[in-house]
Subunit: 139 residues, 3 copies
């Protein structure tokens, strides 16, 4: 299966915390970062996600935000530091590529945001992704 | 690849409208509904999506909203009428299963929303999904 | 129309910036805040959104992040300062209600995030929403 989802980074499940409806799954990415995915409990059960399982984390480009400064006191669990490698600008949106440890991310943000942040190749950024926006694939 | 993404409905690409960064892809689902996915232009090119291509539409449960009445004047492009088949309630969230033409959807909404709407098996609802929340897989 | 989408705040369109497939719509909320929605150009055309139009902004709870400190250098366009009024905790997720000028927001975040940020009634927070997560309804 070939997916339109641009952001796919491999990792290993560290832990699973089940709720009644949702579950949070901690994953250590191959680049060393730790991320949290909030997925349905049903998906966890069907796919048998458990400690040690090899997974791929999937994030749509429209779900990736970028920060240029320090990130503190934020509910967004997932923060991947990286360096901008490319910026493509359209009429309303901009596509920003970010090299992170273990892979590359694409963020689709508004053109205004890209301009306000002065994003250009070489810029240091932190990619931010809400836990509810991360899907997992068993590999 | 087994995905945590609960909602996967097969369909056929009707048209692709490219922008500079994003593209919108119209898909007719096997159940007859038409949906629009806003994905990166890069994904369209790499996966070769074009009229007639067989695809699977993928939507995370957390991206599905539900409406119980008529839906008018709403920017959300994708509206799948269906019937609630199951509601699971947790402390903060609720998982709602909806039978639609051609398949089944799961919506992860707040418990408050499920209660306020009086969702229970048999309820007629319309599942709503923003175009930016739909990913496509080549099949 | 009864929607599961918890967050609905009324406002007035300030401007529309069309791209080829997406458009950004600036809205001044009744509480005075300005927000940006990135929706499909098709939706803008069909609904006739233009300067002065009365709209309702719609955001799913799972799309709202919360920050307790200063928010700088962030690509997320929409930042609504407010005060936590209620926190409901489930096994994996937490629902946080935030009073903002002109209304109330619900954020569905991970329980871990709610605990790490020490969210409790009275806490001052900024609600953050990516532009791609905001839908608009004509009113």
């Amino acid at each position: 299966m070939s997916l339109s989802i641009r952001n796919q980074i491999s990792g290993t499940v560290l832990s699973v915390t089940p709720g009644e409806v949702m579950a949070t799954v901690r994953v250590r990415l191959d680049g060393g970062q730790e991320i949290t995915a909030a997925i349905t409990l049903e998906a966890v059960k069907e796919l048998g996600f458990a400690e040690g399982a090899a997974v791929r984390t999937l994030v749509k480009s429209t779900e990736v935000a970028l920060a240029t400064g320090a990130v503190d006191g934020l509910s967004i669990r997932n923060r991947l530091p990286g360096t901008v490698t490319d910026v493509t600008t359209g009429g309303a949106m901009a596509g920003v590529k970010v090299a992170v440890a273990g892979g590359e991310l694409t963020a689709a943000i508004t053109r205004d945001a890209a301009e306000d942040l002065g994003l250009a190749p070489g810029a240091e950024v932190t990619a931010l992704v809400k836990s509810t926006e991360i899907a997992l694939a068993a590999v």
